[in-house]
């Protein structure tokens, strides 16, 4: 059974159709990309998947349970199964980084205060922000906010991560660093990742599968990994979007090994 299955989803704002006929599945450990031009509804799709916007039609299934048909208790349980990094990072500005990472642990786990704090510090260490635990979001750069947002999303080790344009607005080095972090997290926790991105280097480097949303036809027009789409897609919009950049050499297996080692807990066997 798929970790996430989207069946014939239709998104509308009032009478305005955003996208229709969206169907795909995400298996554990997969990095799935939602691609498309600006304004085609990628972030809106993410909001439908995480329970922020109800679909006009169709189903969103987590391990076979329809999120939008479920009662509030079930929805709450299902939400515990995913973490999300927002486009703006959306860190809670009145809390320090440590408090930002601790809050999901407080809500989603039964850890005590000391354990929560230890876990939050550990996750901040993974994203190289351990020295900034007592800083407020306003004191951080854009890249640091993104990494802190990622730390918050992965703190409770959810099996599914949603990342909304994680590398947008970052310099190439920070962007690459974030890609490695995502690969490292996947390798370490086995989490699936659903990624919205415009960044071709990032898409080619980490995505295993994906869907391409078209703003004109308001339907998905291609399905497959960015590399496969670049090689095989016939639709001119998909080709124009992906051919802006040649894909980098194929990411070797174990690309996340370096970061994975950095993330290893004391006592863990080296990966």
């Amino acid at each position: 059974m798929a970790l996430l299955a989207v069946e014939d989803l239709e998104m509308r704002f009032g009478d305005r159709l955003i996208q229709t006929g969206i169907s795909f599945t995400v298996e554990p450990g997969t990095i799935f990309a939602i691609m498309g031009g600006s304004g085609c509804g990628k972030t809106t799709l993410l909001k439908h998947l995480v329970g922020l916007l109800p679909p006009a039609k169709g189903r969103v299934l987590y391990n076979g349970t329809d999120y939008w048909a479920a009662d509030e208790t079930t929805q709450s349980r299902l939400r515990g199964g995913f973490g999300m990094l927002f486009q703006s990072a959306a860190l809670w500005s009145s809390m320090t980084l440590l408090e930002n990472v601790c809050l999901p642990l407080e809500i989603l786990t039964k850890l005590g205060t000391t354990q929560r704090e230890a876990r939050a510090r550990e996750v901040l260490e993974w994203v190289e922000l351990a020295d900034f635990a007592d800083f407020y979001p306003a004191d951080l750069s854009g890249g640091m906010k993104k990494r802190a947002g990622l730390a918050r999303a992965i703190a409770a080790e959810p099996p599914l991560l949603y990342l909304d344009e994680p590398s947008s607005g970052l310099d190439p080095i920070s962007s690459k660093r974030l890609d490695n972090l995502v690969l490292g997290i996947r390798e370490r926790t086995g989490a699936a990742v659903v990624l919205v991105s415009h960044e071709l280097p990032s898409l080619f480097a980490i995505a295993d599968d994906g869907i391409f949303l078209d703003a004109d036809s308001k339907t998905p027009i291609a399905h497959g990994s960015p590399r496969a789409l670049l090689a095989n897609a016939t639709h001119p919009t998909v080709r124009a979007f992906l051919a802006r950049e040649e894909p980098p050499p194929t990411v070797p297996a174990g690309a996340g090994a370096v970061i994975s080692a950095a993330m290893a807990q004391p006592g863990d066997a080296p990966s």
């Binding site: 939400r79 999300m84 959306a90 809670w92 500005s93």
Partner: protein, 259 residues
């Protein structure tokens, strides 16, 4: 012709009523021990709308007490009734001015801050992040603010009464050569519990009004910089107009009840 249910639903402002209902449900859940907010958030907001508001509440209430005493002294001295300045100031402050002036100050200070903070959180997707985590913004953000204001406004009212009376006493002592002891004695004779009770009840209601209006304005703000400004303006203007309207309703009710 009677209205159809559809026409009726269009006339009734459903969103504010839904918001009020959600706050009441969240409050009932909190009272039964199922609260989602953090106690330290209530403490933080309570400190912000009490201790940090004291200087401005002091200045405004002292001056209002002094102004009332000035006006009263000028008129009452003509009739040889200068001592009754204490009655005028005491009753006006306890019954009306301390509650209204403190509420207006809090609407401009704390209400605006609540609306701006929540509207900015809305713009920055911080509220979405809470919802994804399963935290309802009504429980986590609105309730601590409304509870803090409900608890702190009556305390600020009492403090406003004391400072207002002091302002009046200083003016009476300066203009009319009234001894502070005589002024206080006269104030105690003039005031009774009904005046204080009425002012206390008003401050409680005004606190709820400011908290609800400002949180509503912030929570349903447009997600842009202009939206933050509009939310803040709406919160302050609606709160102040609401305070005056509620005070008028209090006056009518008090008159009808002979208070």
């Amino acid at each position: 012709m009677p209205l159809t249910p559809m026409q009726l639903s269009q006339l009734i402002p459903t969103r504010p009523l839904t918001f009020l209902g959600q706050v009441l449900i969240a409050a009932a859940a909190a009272l039964s021990g199922r609260w989602q907010f953090r106690s330290k958030d209530v403490s933080r907001v309570a400190a912000d709308c009490s201790a940090r508001a004291v200087p401005i509440v002091t200045v405004v209430n002292v001056l209002v007490g002094a102004i009332l005493a000035f006006v009263g002294a000028v008129q009452l001295v003509k009739f040889g009734a200068g001592i009754y300045v204490a009655d005028l100031v005491g009753i006006a402050v306890a019954r009306e001015m301390a509650a209204i002036i403190t509420a207006v100050v809090m609407a401009g200070r704390t209400g605006a801050a609540f609306a701006a903070e929540l509207a900015t959180m809305q713009t920055n997707e911080e509220i979405d992040a809470l919802e994804v985590l399963g935290l309802h913004p009504i429980d986590f953000l609105v309730l601590p603010r409304v509870v803090a204001l409900l608890l702190m406004m009556p305390l600020l009212y009492v403090y406003g009464c004391v400072t207002g009376l002091l302002g009046g006493m200083v003016v009476a002592a300066g203009m009319l050569d009234l001894a502070p002891a005589a002024y206080l004695d006269r104030t105690l004779v003039a005031m009774d519990w009904s005046h204080l009770g009425l002012g206390f009840a008003k401050s409680f209601v005004f606190g709820a009004l400011i908290g609800l209006v400002s949180c509503y304005s912030g929570l349903y703000a447009e997600r842009n910089a202009e939206g933050v400004g509009v939310a803040t303006t709406n919160a302050v203007v609606t709160s102040i107009v609401g305070i005056i309207v509620l005070d008028a309703i209090f006056a009518i009710c008090a008159n009808a009840l002979g208070l």
